[in-house]
Protein backbone atom coordinates (compact mmCIF):
# COMPACT_ATOMS: atom_id res chain seq x y z
CA UNK A 1 0.00 0.00 0.00
CA UNK A 2 0.98 3.57 -0.57
CA UNK A 3 0.04 6.86 0.97
CA UNK A 4 -0.15 9.58 -1.61
CA UNK A 5 0.12 13.11 -0.26
CA UNK A 6 -0.75 16.01 -2.52
CA UNK A 7 -0.23 19.65 -1.65
CA UNK A 8 -2.46 21.71 -3.95
CA UNK A 9 -4.13 25.07 -4.33
CA UNK A 10 -7.21 25.29 -2.10
CA UNK A 11 -9.72 26.03 -4.83
CA UNK A 12 -8.71 22.81 -6.61
CA UNK A 13 -9.81 20.61 -3.74
CA UNK A 14 -13.27 19.77 -5.04
CA UNK A 15 -12.02 18.89 -8.47
CA UNK A 16 -9.29 16.61 -7.19
CA UNK A 17 -11.69 14.87 -4.86
CA UNK A 18 -14.14 14.28 -7.68
CA UNK A 19 -11.44 12.84 -9.89
CA UNK A 20 -10.29 10.47 -7.17
CA UNK A 21 -13.82 9.42 -6.40
CA UNK A 22 -14.42 8.56 -10.01
CA UNK A 23 -11.38 6.25 -9.85
CA UNK A 24 -13.23 4.34 -7.17
CA UNK A 25 -11.28 5.73 -4.25
CA UNK A 26 -13.59 5.92 -1.32
CA UNK A 27 -11.83 7.97 1.25
CA UNK A 28 -9.27 10.68 1.81
CA UNK A 29 -8.20 13.12 4.47
CA UNK A 30 -7.63 16.82 4.01
CA UNK A 31 -5.86 19.44 6.06
CA UNK A 32 -5.20 23.13 5.69
CA UNK A 33 -1.52 23.94 5.44
CA UNK A 34 0.69 26.86 4.55
CA UNK A 35 3.17 26.46 1.76
CA UNK A 36 6.52 28.10 1.21
CA UNK A 37 8.10 27.78 -2.20
CA UNK A 38 8.75 29.44 -5.49
CA UNK A 39 5.33 31.02 -5.52
CA UNK A 40 5.55 34.29 -3.69
CA UNK A 41 2.74 35.36 -1.40
CA UNK A 42 1.11 38.75 -1.46
CA UNK A 43 2.08 41.65 0.72
CA UNK A 44 0.00 42.79 3.65
CA UNK A 45 0.30 46.40 4.69
CA UNK A 46 -0.83 47.67 8.07
CA UNK A 47 -0.37 51.33 8.83
CA UNK A 48 2.65 51.46 6.67
CA UNK A 49 4.29 48.31 7.95
CA UNK A 50 4.62 45.89 5.05
CA UNK A 51 4.60 42.20 5.72
CA UNK A 52 5.57 39.96 2.84
CA UNK A 53 3.38 36.95 3.32
CA UNK A 54 5.88 34.24 2.56
CA UNK A 55 3.41 31.49 3.24
CA UNK A 56 0.52 30.85 0.91
CA UNK A 57 -2.55 28.79 1.82
CA UNK A 58 -2.58 25.25 0.44
CA UNK A 59 -4.49 22.10 1.17
CA UNK A 60 -2.89 18.78 1.83
CA UNK A 61 -4.77 15.74 0.56
CA UNK A 62 -3.78 12.36 1.93
CA UNK A 63 -5.07 9.23 0.32
CA UNK A 64 -4.11 5.67 1.11
CA UNK A 65 -4.31 3.28 -1.84
CA UNK A 66 -3.40 -0.20 -2.92
CA UNK A 67 -0.10 -0.35 -4.82
CA UNK A 68 -1.67 -1.02 -8.19
CA UNK A 69 -3.60 2.21 -8.14
CA UNK A 70 -0.58 4.41 -7.68
CA UNK A 71 -0.12 5.45 -11.25
CA UNK A 72 -3.70 6.39 -12.01
CA UNK A 73 -3.96 8.22 -8.70
CA UNK A 74 -0.93 10.36 -9.40
CA UNK A 75 -2.19 11.00 -12.90
CA UNK A 76 -5.63 12.02 -11.68
CA UNK A 77 -4.25 14.42 -9.12
CA UNK A 78 -1.80 15.95 -11.51
CA UNK A 79 -4.41 16.43 -14.17
CA UNK A 80 -6.98 18.11 -11.96
CA UNK A 81 -4.70 20.14 -9.71
CA UNK A 82 -2.77 21.52 -12.65
CA UNK A 83 -3.09 25.17 -13.68
CA UNK A 84 0.38 25.60 -15.11
CA UNK A 85 1.20 28.48 -12.80
CA UNK A 86 3.90 28.45 -10.18
CA UNK A 87 2.60 27.07 -6.92
CA UNK A 88 0.54 24.19 -8.28
CA UNK A 89 2.12 22.02 -5.62
CA UNK A 90 3.63 18.58 -5.14
CA UNK A 91 2.73 14.94 -4.88
CA UNK A 92 4.66 12.84 -2.41
CA UNK A 93 4.36 9.06 -2.16
CA UNK A 94 5.15 6.95 0.91
CA UNK A 95 5.15 3.26 1.58
CA UNK A 96 2.42 2.32 3.94
CA UNK A 97 3.41 -0.49 6.27
CA UNK A 98 -0.04 -1.18 7.58
CA UNK A 99 -3.61 0.10 7.50
CA UNK A 100 -6.48 -0.66 9.84
CA UNK A 101 -10.14 0.28 9.69
CA UNK A 102 -11.08 1.13 13.24
CA UNK A 103 -14.74 0.22 12.89
CA UNK A 104 -14.19 -3.34 11.72
CA UNK A 105 -10.59 -4.12 12.47
CA UNK A 106 -10.02 -4.98 8.82
CA UNK A 107 -6.37 -4.70 7.84
CA UNK A 108 -4.38 -4.01 4.70
CA UNK A 109 -5.99 -2.97 1.45
CA UNK A 110 -9.39 -4.02 2.74
CA UNK A 111 -9.22 -1.27 5.26
CA UNK A 112 -9.08 1.48 2.66
Amino acid sequence: MKLVTAIVKPFKLDEVRDALTSLGIEGLTVSEVKGFGRQKGQTEIYRGAEYAVTFVPKVKIEVAIADDRLEQTIEAIQRTAHTGKIGDGKIFVFDLAQAVRIRTGEQGADAL
Binding site: F11, D14, Q42, T43, E44, I45, V53
Partner: protein
Protein backbone atom coordinates in the same frame (compact mmCIF):
# COMPACT_ATOMS: atom_id res chain seq x y z
CA UNK B 1 -0.42 52.68 -16.22
CA UNK B 2 0.00 51.23 -12.81
CA UNK B 3 0.61 54.73 -11.58
CA UNK B 4 -2.50 55.94 -13.29
CA UNK B 5 -4.45 53.19 -11.63
CA UNK B 6 -2.99 53.99 -8.28
CA UNK B 7 -3.53 57.66 -8.38
CA UNK B 8 -6.81 58.05 -10.19
CA UNK B 9 -9.40 57.59 -7.48
CA UNK B 10 -7.55 59.28 -4.66
CA UNK B 11 -6.94 62.17 -7.02
CA UNK B 12 -10.65 62.41 -7.68
CA UNK B 13 -11.26 62.51 -3.96
CA UNK B 14 -8.66 65.22 -3.55
CA UNK B 15 -10.35 67.23 -6.28
CA UNK B 16 -13.66 66.73 -4.51
CA UNK B 17 -12.22 68.14 -1.33
CA UNK B 18 -10.74 71.13 -3.18
CA UNK B 19 -14.09 71.80 -4.75
CA UNK B 20 -15.86 71.56 -1.42
CA UNK B 21 -13.48 73.98 0.24
CA UNK B 22 -13.94 76.39 -2.62
CA UNK B 23 -17.66 76.04 -2.27
CA UNK B 24 -17.52 76.66 1.45
CA UNK B 25 -15.55 79.84 0.85
CA UNK B 26 -17.95 80.99 -1.85
CA UNK B 27 -21.01 80.21 0.16
CA UNK B 28 -19.86 82.06 3.22
CA UNK B 29 -18.53 84.96 1.14
CA UNK B 30 -21.83 85.11 -0.69
CA UNK B 31 -23.61 85.36 2.59
CA UNK B 32 -21.75 88.58 3.29
CA UNK B 33 -21.77 90.42 -0.02
CA UNK B 34 -24.68 92.18 -1.65
CA UNK B 35 -24.45 92.50 -5.42
CA UNK B 36 -26.97 94.67 -7.29
CA UNK B 37 -30.08 92.69 -8.13
CA UNK B 38 -32.40 92.18 -11.05
CA UNK B 39 -36.11 92.61 -10.34
CA UNK B 40 -36.66 88.85 -10.20
CA UNK B 41 -33.80 88.55 -7.80
CA UNK B 42 -35.38 91.22 -5.70
CA UNK B 43 -38.65 89.37 -5.60
CA UNK B 44 -36.81 86.23 -4.68
CA UNK B 45 -34.94 88.14 -2.03
CA UNK B 46 -38.15 89.38 -0.56
CA UNK B 47 -39.51 85.87 -0.43
CA UNK B 48 -36.27 84.81 1.15
CA UNK B 49 -36.54 87.58 3.70
CA UNK B 50 -40.03 86.53 4.61
CA UNK B 51 -38.78 83.00 4.85
CA UNK B 52 -35.98 84.17 7.09
CA UNK B 53 -38.43 85.81 9.44
CA UNK B 54 -40.37 82.60 9.51
CA UNK B 55 -37.15 80.75 10.27
CA UNK B 56 -36.42 83.05 13.17
CA UNK B 57 -39.85 82.39 14.60
CA UNK B 58 -39.42 78.68 14.07
CA UNK B 59 -36.02 78.72 15.70
CA UNK B 60 -37.72 79.78 18.88
CA UNK B 61 -39.83 76.69 18.40
CA UNK B 62 -36.96 74.22 18.67
CA UNK B 63 -38.25 71.59 21.05
CA UNK B 64 -35.60 70.02 23.25
CA UNK B 65 -37.48 66.73 23.60
CA UNK B 66 -37.93 66.31 19.87
CA UNK B 67 -34.32 67.31 19.34
CA UNK B 68 -33.12 64.83 21.94
CA UNK B 69 -34.90 61.99 20.19
CA UNK B 70 -33.66 63.03 16.76
CA UNK B 71 -30.05 63.32 17.95
CA UNK B 72 -30.37 59.80 19.33
CA UNK B 73 -32.00 58.66 16.10
CA UNK B 74 -29.05 59.86 14.06
CA UNK B 75 -26.77 57.71 16.19
CA UNK B 76 -29.14 54.75 15.84
CA UNK B 77 -29.44 54.98 12.08
CA UNK B 78 -25.71 55.46 11.53
CA UNK B 79 -25.20 52.34 13.65
CA UNK B 80 -27.42 50.46 11.20
CA UNK B 81 -24.80 50.83 8.47
CA UNK B 82 -21.61 50.79 10.52
CA UNK B 83 -21.26 48.32 12.03
CA UNK B 84 -24.76 46.86 11.43
CA UNK B 85 -25.00 46.31 7.72
CA UNK B 86 -21.26 45.79 7.40
CA UNK B 87 -21.52 42.81 9.72
CA UNK B 88 -24.81 41.54 8.32
CA UNK B 89 -23.18 41.29 4.91
CA UNK B 90 -19.67 40.49 6.15
CA UNK B 91 -20.78 37.35 7.93
CA UNK B 92 -22.43 35.94 4.82
CA UNK B 93 -19.44 36.00 2.51
CA UNK B 94 -16.47 33.69 2.47
CA UNK B 95 -13.69 34.43 4.92
CA UNK B 96 -11.33 35.65 2.21
CA UNK B 97 -13.78 38.45 1.29
CA UNK B 98 -15.00 39.63 4.66
CA UNK B 99 -12.77 42.68 4.91
CA UNK B 100 -13.57 43.85 1.40
CA UNK B 101 -17.25 43.56 2.26
CA UNK B 102 -17.12 45.57 5.46
CA UNK B 103 -14.85 48.08 3.72
CA UNK B 104 -17.62 48.80 1.25
CA UNK B 105 -20.11 49.83 3.91
CA UNK B 106 -17.54 51.93 5.71
CA UNK B 107 -16.24 53.73 2.64
CA UNK B 108 -19.75 54.41 1.35
CA UNK B 109 -20.58 55.97 4.69
CA UNK B 110 -17.69 58.38 4.26
CA UNK B 111 -18.28 59.17 0.62
CA UNK B 112 -22.00 59.82 0.93
CA UNK B 113 -21.42 62.02 3.97
CA UNK B 114 -19.20 64.39 2.03
CA UNK B 115 -21.48 64.52 -1.01
CA UNK B 116 -24.48 65.04 1.24
CA UNK B 117 -23.08 68.06 2.98
CA UNK B 118 -21.84 69.60 -0.25
CA UNK B 119 -25.05 69.31 -2.27
CA UNK B 120 -27.18 66.29 -1.40
CA UNK B 121 -29.24 67.74 1.39
CA UNK B 122 -29.84 71.00 -0.37
CA UNK B 123 -31.05 69.43 -3.61
CA UNK B 124 -33.22 66.84 -1.90
CA UNK B 125 -34.69 68.52 1.16
CA UNK B 126 -35.20 72.15 0.30
CA UNK B 127 -37.72 73.60 -2.14
CA UNK B 128 -36.81 75.01 -5.48
CA UNK B 129 -37.52 78.73 -5.31
CA UNK B 130 -37.72 78.73 -1.56
CA UNK B 131 -41.45 78.12 -1.16
CA UNK B 132 -42.68 74.64 -0.31
CA UNK B 133 -46.39 74.87 0.16
CA UNK B 134 -49.33 76.83 -1.14
CA UNK B 135 -49.59 78.83 -4.35
CA UNK B 136 -46.02 79.98 -4.67
CA UNK B 137 -44.41 76.59 -5.20
CA UNK B 138 -42.28 76.51 -8.32
CA UNK B 139 -43.07 73.84 -10.92
CA UNK B 140 -39.43 72.81 -10.90
CA UNK B 141 -39.82 71.77 -7.29
CA UNK B 142 -41.59 68.70 -8.54
CA UNK B 143 -38.23 67.53 -9.71
CA UNK B 144 -35.47 68.99 -7.62
CA UNK B 145 -34.81 71.18 -4.59
CA UNK B 146 -32.80 74.35 -4.23
CA UNK B 147 -29.15 75.25 -3.80
CA UNK B 148 -29.80 77.28 -0.68
CA UNK B 149 -28.14 74.80 1.64
CA UNK B 150 -24.98 73.98 -0.31
CA UNK B 151 -22.23 73.12 2.21
CA UNK B 152 -24.95 73.17 4.89
CA UNK B 153 -24.55 76.86 5.23
CA UNK B 154 -26.97 77.43 8.16
CA UNK B 155 -26.91 78.96 11.60
CA UNK B 156 -27.20 77.09 14.90
CA UNK B 157 -30.92 77.65 15.22
CA UNK B 158 -32.08 77.30 11.65
CA UNK B 159 -34.91 74.84 11.10
CA UNK B 160 -36.44 73.25 8.04
CA UNK B 161 -39.84 74.82 8.58
CA UNK B 162 -41.68 72.58 6.17
CA UNK B 163 -40.25 69.20 6.96
CA UNK B 164 -39.07 69.29 10.56
CA UNK B 165 -40.08 72.51 12.25
CA UNK B 166 -39.19 71.63 15.85
CA UNK B 167 -35.57 70.52 15.54
CA UNK B 168 -32.38 72.23 14.35
CA UNK B 169 -31.87 71.88 10.62
CA UNK B 170 -28.39 70.49 11.25
CA UNK B 171 -29.95 67.57 13.07
CA UNK B 172 -32.51 67.02 10.37
CA UNK B 173 -29.78 67.04 7.77
CA UNK B 174 -27.73 64.49 9.71
CA UNK B 175 -30.81 62.33 10.13
CA UNK B 176 -31.60 62.32 6.42
CA UNK B 177 -27.92 61.77 5.66
CA UNK B 178 -27.96 58.48 7.50
CA UNK B 179 -30.80 57.36 5.21
CA UNK B 180 -28.76 58.23 2.15
CA UNK B 181 -25.85 56.28 3.54
CA UNK B 182 -27.67 53.06 4.19
CA UNK B 183 -29.55 53.15 0.91
CA UNK B 184 -26.29 53.28 -1.00
CA UNK B 185 -24.69 50.67 1.24
CA UNK B 186 -27.53 48.21 0.76
CA UNK B 187 -26.69 47.86 -2.91
CA UNK B 188 -23.38 46.16 -2.23
CA UNK B 189 -25.16 43.01 -1.11
CA UNK B 190 -25.96 42.21 -4.73
CA UNK B 191 -22.52 42.79 -6.15
CA UNK B 192 -20.42 41.44 -3.30
CA UNK B 193 -17.54 39.05 -3.90
CA UNK B 194 -16.66 40.35 -7.35
CA UNK B 195 -16.93 44.11 -7.85
CA UNK B 196 -13.84 46.32 -7.81
CA UNK B 197 -13.62 48.76 -4.93
CA UNK B 198 -12.79 51.68 -7.18
CA UNK B 199 -15.69 50.87 -9.48
CA UNK B 200 -18.05 50.69 -6.56
CA UNK B 201 -16.98 54.10 -5.28
CA UNK B 202 -17.53 55.69 -8.67
CA UNK B 203 -20.86 53.99 -9.14
CA UNK B 204 -22.10 55.08 -5.73
CA UNK B 205 -21.09 58.69 -6.32
CA UNK B 206 -23.17 58.68 -9.49
CA UNK B 207 -26.06 56.71 -8.09
CA UNK B 208 -26.33 58.93 -5.06
CA UNK B 209 -26.45 61.99 -7.27
CA UNK B 210 -28.74 60.85 -10.05
CA UNK B 211 -30.96 58.34 -8.30
CA UNK B 212 -31.07 58.82 -4.55
CA UNK B 213 -31.20 62.60 -4.38
CA UNK B 214 -34.02 63.05 -6.92
CA UNK B 215 -36.18 60.22 -5.62
CA UNK B 216 -35.77 61.43 -2.05
CA UNK B 217 -36.87 64.86 -3.22
CA UNK B 218 -39.86 63.51 -5.13
CA UNK B 219 -41.18 61.55 -2.18
CA UNK B 220 -40.05 63.51 0.86
CA UNK B 221 -39.09 66.95 -0.42
CA UNK B 222 -42.57 67.99 -1.57
CA UNK B 223 -41.75 66.69 -5.05
CA UNK B 224 -44.20 65.22 -7.53
CA UNK B 225 -44.69 61.86 -5.86
CA UNK B 226 -45.47 63.57 -2.56
CA UNK B 227 -47.96 65.84 -4.28
CA UNK B 228 -49.39 62.85 -6.06
CA UNK B 229 -50.14 61.31 -2.68
CA UNK B 230 -47.64 58.48 -2.32
CA UNK B 231 -47.29 57.41 1.32
CA UNK B 232 -43.79 56.40 2.38
CA UNK B 233 -43.21 57.04 6.05
CA UNK B 234 -39.59 55.98 6.35
CA UNK B 235 -38.43 54.77 2.98
CA UNK B 236 -40.07 51.73 1.40
CA UNK B 237 -39.66 53.25 -2.03
CA UNK B 238 -36.86 55.75 -1.46
CA UNK B 239 -34.64 53.34 0.40
CA UNK B 240 -35.51 49.72 -0.18
CA UNK B 241 -37.09 49.36 -3.60
CA UNK B 242 -34.59 51.88 -4.83
CA UNK B 243 -31.48 50.04 -3.62
CA UNK B 244 -32.94 46.60 -4.26
CA UNK B 245 -33.50 47.17 -7.95
CA UNK B 246 -30.12 48.88 -8.33
CA UNK B 247 -28.61 45.79 -6.77
CA UNK B 248 -30.40 43.42 -9.10
CA UNK B 249 -29.27 45.35 -12.15
CA UNK B 250 -25.73 45.20 -10.78
CA UNK B 251 -25.93 41.46 -10.27
CA UNK B 252 -27.12 41.02 -13.85
CA UNK B 253 -24.51 43.32 -15.36
CA UNK B 254 -21.67 41.77 -13.39
CA UNK B 255 -22.79 38.20 -13.93
CA UNK B 256 -22.44 35.32 -11.54
CA UNK B 257 -19.65 34.83 -9.11
CA UNK B 258 -16.97 32.44 -10.31
CA UNK B 259 -18.07 28.94 -9.42
CA UNK B 260 -21.52 29.96 -8.21
CA UNK B 261 -24.00 27.13 -8.42
CA UNK B 262 -21.80 25.01 -10.64
CA UNK B 263 -20.42 22.95 -7.79
CA UNK B 264 -22.00 21.20 -4.87
CA UNK B 265 -19.05 21.92 -2.61
CA UNK B 266 -19.20 24.12 0.45
CA UNK B 267 -17.67 26.95 -1.45
CA UNK B 268 -20.33 29.57 -0.89
CA UNK B 269 -21.32 28.88 2.68
CA UNK B 270 -21.37 31.99 4.89
CA UNK B 271 -18.21 32.00 6.96
CA UNK B 272 -19.55 33.37 10.22
CA UNK B 273 -23.24 33.83 10.89
CA UNK B 274 -22.51 35.19 14.35
CA UNK B 275 -21.44 38.36 12.58
CA UNK B 276 -24.63 38.29 10.54
CA UNK B 277 -26.69 37.88 13.70
CA UNK B 278 -24.96 40.87 15.29
CA UNK B 279 -25.60 42.86 12.15
CA UNK B 280 -29.26 41.93 11.97
CA UNK B 281 -29.71 42.78 15.64
CA UNK B 282 -28.12 46.19 15.26
CA UNK B 283 -30.24 46.80 12.18
CA UNK B 284 -33.31 46.00 14.24
CA UNK B 285 -32.28 48.21 17.15
CA UNK B 286 -31.20 51.03 14.87
CA UNK B 287 -34.38 50.77 12.85
CA UNK B 288 -36.25 52.35 15.75
CA UNK B 289 -34.35 55.50 14.89
CA UNK B 290 -35.22 54.95 11.25
CA UNK B 291 -38.96 54.45 11.63
CA UNK B 292 -39.87 56.13 14.90
CA UNK B 293 -37.33 58.85 14.05
CA UNK B 294 -39.20 59.54 10.83
CA UNK B 295 -41.87 61.22 12.94
CA UNK B 296 -39.11 63.85 13.48
CA UNK B 297 -40.55 64.28 16.95
CA UNK B 298 -40.87 62.43 20.25
CA UNK B 299 -44.61 62.00 20.14
CA UNK B 300 -47.43 59.51 19.86
CA UNK B 301 -46.82 58.87 16.21
CA UNK B 302 -43.22 57.97 16.89
CA UNK B 303 -44.49 55.62 19.56
CA UNK B 304 -46.92 53.90 17.24
CA UNK B 305 -44.24 53.63 14.57
CA UNK B 306 -41.99 51.92 17.09
CA UNK B 307 -44.66 49.49 18.16
CA UNK B 308 -45.66 48.39 14.69
CA UNK B 309 -42.01 48.12 13.71
CA UNK B 310 -41.32 45.76 16.57
CA UNK B 311 -44.41 43.69 15.82
CA UNK B 312 -43.96 43.38 12.06
CA UNK B 313 -40.31 42.48 12.47
CA UNK B 314 -40.95 39.73 14.96
CA UNK B 315 -43.82 38.41 12.88
CA UNK B 316 -41.85 38.32 9.67
CA UNK B 317 -38.96 36.58 11.41
CA UNK B 318 -41.25 33.88 12.73
CA UNK B 319 -42.98 33.61 9.36
CA UNK B 320 -39.74 33.08 7.44
CA UNK B 321 -38.52 30.65 10.07
CA UNK B 322 -41.76 28.68 9.94
CA UNK B 323 -41.82 28.59 6.16
CA UNK B 324 -38.24 27.35 6.11
CA UNK B 325 -38.92 24.81 8.81
CA UNK B 326 -41.79 23.39 6.81
CA UNK B 327 -40.10 23.47 3.43
CA UNK B 328 -36.51 22.66 4.29
CA UNK B 329 -36.94 20.78 7.54
CA UNK B 330 -34.90 23.02 9.84
CA UNK B 331 -35.22 26.56 11.18
CA UNK B 332 -31.97 28.42 10.63
CA UNK B 333 -30.24 31.44 12.07
CA UNK B 334 -29.80 32.94 8.62
CA UNK B 335 -33.49 32.34 8.03
CA UNK B 336 -34.82 34.00 11.12
CA UNK B 337 -32.56 37.02 10.83
CA UNK B 338 -33.38 37.39 7.13
CA UNK B 339 -37.04 37.30 8.05
CA UNK B 340 -36.51 40.00 10.65
CA UNK B 341 -34.84 42.24 8.09
CA UNK B 342 -37.63 41.53 5.61
CA UNK B 343 -40.14 42.60 8.24
CA UNK B 344 -38.21 45.76 9.00
CA UNK B 345 -38.11 46.60 5.32
CA UNK B 346 -41.80 46.01 4.75
CA UNK B 347 -43.02 47.97 7.77
CA UNK B 348 -40.80 50.91 6.86
CA UNK B 349 -43.16 52.72 4.48
CA UNK B 350 -46.14 51.77 6.65
CA UNK B 351 -44.74 52.56 10.07
CA UNK B 352 -46.42 55.91 10.68
CA UNK B 353 -49.65 54.90 9.01
CA UNK B 354 -50.79 51.49 10.24
CA UNK B 355 -52.00 49.96 13.51
CA UNK B 356 -50.79 46.67 15.06
CA UNK B 357 -53.32 44.59 13.13
CA UNK B 358 -51.96 45.87 9.82
CA UNK B 359 -48.41 45.39 11.03
CA UNK B 360 -49.11 41.75 11.73
CA UNK B 361 -50.33 41.08 8.20
CA UNK B 362 -47.47 43.06 6.70
CA UNK B 363 -45.03 41.02 8.76
CA UNK B 364 -46.47 37.69 7.64
CA UNK B 365 -46.58 38.75 4.01
CA UNK B 366 -43.01 40.04 4.09
CA UNK B 367 -41.65 36.94 5.77
CA UNK B 368 -43.27 34.53 3.35
CA UNK B 369 -42.79 36.51 0.14
CA UNK B 370 -39.14 37.33 0.78
CA UNK B 371 -38.46 33.72 1.72
CA UNK B 372 -39.95 32.71 -1.58
CA UNK B 373 -37.98 35.36 -3.48
CA UNK B 374 -34.64 34.35 -1.97
CA UNK B 375 -35.08 30.61 -2.13
CA UNK B 376 -37.23 29.94 -5.19
CA UNK B 377 -37.51 32.95 -7.44
CA UNK B 378 -33.76 33.57 -7.49
CA UNK B 379 -32.95 30.01 -8.40
CA UNK B 380 -35.61 29.92 -11.08
CA UNK B 381 -34.46 33.14 -12.67
CA UNK B 382 -30.83 32.25 -12.31
CA UNK B 383 -29.34 35.62 -11.34
CA UNK B 384 -26.66 35.74 -8.67
CA UNK B 385 -27.85 38.33 -6.16
CA UNK B 386 -25.03 37.42 -3.79
CA UNK B 387 -26.55 38.43 -0.46
CA UNK B 388 -30.15 38.91 -1.62
CA UNK B 389 -30.50 42.67 -1.61
CA UNK B 390 -33.18 42.32 -4.27
CA UNK B 391 -34.96 39.41 -2.65
CA UNK B 392 -35.18 41.07 0.75
CA UNK B 393 -35.17 44.80 0.11
CA UNK B 394 -36.91 45.20 -3.21
CA UNK B 395 -39.51 42.50 -2.67
CA UNK B 396 -39.99 43.47 0.97
CA UNK B 397 -40.18 47.13 0.03
CA UNK B 398 -42.83 46.52 -2.62
CA UNK B 399 -44.83 44.40 -0.19
CA UNK B 400 -44.76 47.15 2.39
CA UNK B 401 -45.44 49.99 -0.03
CA UNK B 402 -48.54 48.32 -1.45
CA UNK B 403 -49.87 47.12 1.90
CA UNK B 404 -49.47 50.62 3.30
CA UNK B 405 -52.15 51.56 0.83
CA UNK B 406 -54.30 48.79 2.22
CA UNK B 407 -53.89 49.22 5.96
CA UNK B 408 -53.34 52.96 6.39
CA UNK B 409 -55.34 54.32 9.32
CA UNK B 410 -56.47 57.78 8.33
CA UNK B 411 -56.33 59.50 11.68
CA UNK B 412 -52.69 58.55 12.19
CA UNK B 413 -51.72 60.96 9.45
CA UNK B 414 -54.34 63.54 10.35
CA UNK B 415 -53.29 67.14 10.85
CA UNK B 416 -55.09 70.13 12.29
CA UNK B 417 -56.31 71.03 8.79
CA UNK B 418 -57.14 67.52 7.60
CA UNK B 419 -57.92 65.50 10.73
CA UNK B 420 -58.99 62.53 8.63
CA UNK B 421 -55.53 62.08 7.18
CA UNK B 422 -54.95 59.59 4.38
CA UNK B 423 -56.88 56.36 4.85
CA UNK B 424 -56.18 53.11 3.01
CA UNK B 425 -58.20 50.47 1.22
CA UNK B 426 -59.61 48.95 4.41
CA UNK B 427 -61.04 52.31 5.34
CA UNK B 428 -62.58 52.59 1.91
CA UNK B 429 -59.88 54.46 0.00
CA UNK B 430 -59.06 51.87 -2.66
CA UNK B 431 -57.33 54.47 -4.81
CA UNK B 432 -54.47 54.68 -2.37
CA UNK B 433 -53.28 51.23 -3.44
CA UNK B 434 -52.94 52.46 -6.99
CA UNK B 435 -51.14 55.58 -5.89
CA UNK B 436 -48.72 53.40 -4.00
CA UNK B 437 -48.28 51.32 -7.14
CA UNK B 438 -47.26 54.42 -9.06
CA UNK B 439 -44.63 55.17 -6.44
CA UNK B 440 -43.30 51.63 -6.71
CA UNK B 441 -43.18 51.59 -10.49
CA UNK B 442 -41.58 55.00 -10.76
CA UNK B 443 -38.81 53.94 -8.44
CA UNK B 444 -38.26 50.62 -10.20
CA UNK B 445 -37.97 52.26 -13.58
CA UNK B 446 -35.94 55.32 -12.67
CA UNK B 447 -33.49 53.48 -10.44
CA UNK B 448 -33.28 50.49 -12.76
CA UNK B 449 -32.53 52.46 -15.88
CA UNK B 450 -30.14 55.01 -14.43
CA UNK B 451 -28.30 52.28 -12.55
CA UNK B 452 -27.81 50.33 -15.75
CA UNK B 453 -26.36 53.39 -17.47
CA UNK B 454 -24.07 54.10 -14.53
CA UNK B 455 -22.75 50.55 -14.37
CA UNK B 456 -21.93 50.68 -18.05
CA UNK B 457 -20.16 54.02 -17.74
CA UNK B 458 -18.12 52.85 -14.77
CA UNK B 459 -17.26 49.66 -16.60
CA UNK B 460 -15.74 51.72 -19.37
CA UNK B 461 -13.79 53.94 -17.00
CA UNK B 462 -12.22 51.48 -14.57
CA UNK B 463 -13.84 48.10 -15.24
CA UNK B 464 -16.46 46.66 -12.91
CA UNK B 465 -15.07 43.30 -12.03
CA UNK B 466 -11.87 42.09 -10.40
CA UNK B 467 -9.51 39.67 -12.14
CA UNK B 468 -10.60 36.04 -12.11
CA UNK B 469 -7.52 35.15 -10.12
CA UNK B 470 -8.27 37.73 -7.44
CA UNK B 471 -11.83 36.51 -7.26
CA UNK B 472 -10.57 33.02 -6.49
CA UNK B 473 -7.83 34.02 -4.09
CA UNK B 474 -9.87 36.57 -2.19
CA UNK B 475 -10.58 40.25 -2.44
CA UNK B 476 -9.22 41.06 1.00
CA UNK B 477 -5.64 40.42 0.03
CA UNK B 478 -6.08 41.42 -3.57
CA UNK B 479 -7.84 44.74 -3.19
CA UNK B 480 -6.83 45.81 0.28
CA UNK B 481 -3.64 43.95 1.17
CA UNK B 482 -5.14 42.59 4.36
CA UNK B 483 -6.50 39.35 5.73
CA UNK B 484 -8.39 38.01 8.71
CA UNK B 485 -6.09 35.54 10.40
Amino acid sequence: MSLRKRASLPAVIAALFAFAIGLALTVSAYAQTAAPMTPEQQAAAKAAEAAAAEVAAAAAAINSGDTAWMLASVALVLMMTIPGLALFYGGMVRKMNVLSTVMQSFAITCLVTVLWVIYGYSLAFTCYGGTCTGEGVAWMNNWIGSTSRLMMNVGLNAVNVDLAPTIPETVYSCFQLTFGIITCALIVGSVADRMKFSALMLFIAGWFTFVYVPIAHWVWGNGWLATYGVLDFAGGTVVHINSGIAGLVGALVLGKRRGYATHGGETFTPHNLVLTMIGASLLWVGWFGFNAGSATAANGRAGMAMLVTQLATATAALAWMSAEWMVKGKPSVLGIVSGAVAGLVAITPASGFVAPGGALVIGIAAGVLCFWACTSLKNKMGYDDSLDTFGVHCIGGITGAILTGVFAVGVFSGTADTPGGTPGLLEGNAKQVLIQGVGVLTTLVWSGVISLVLYKIVDVIVGLRVDPEMEVEGLDLGLHGEAVH
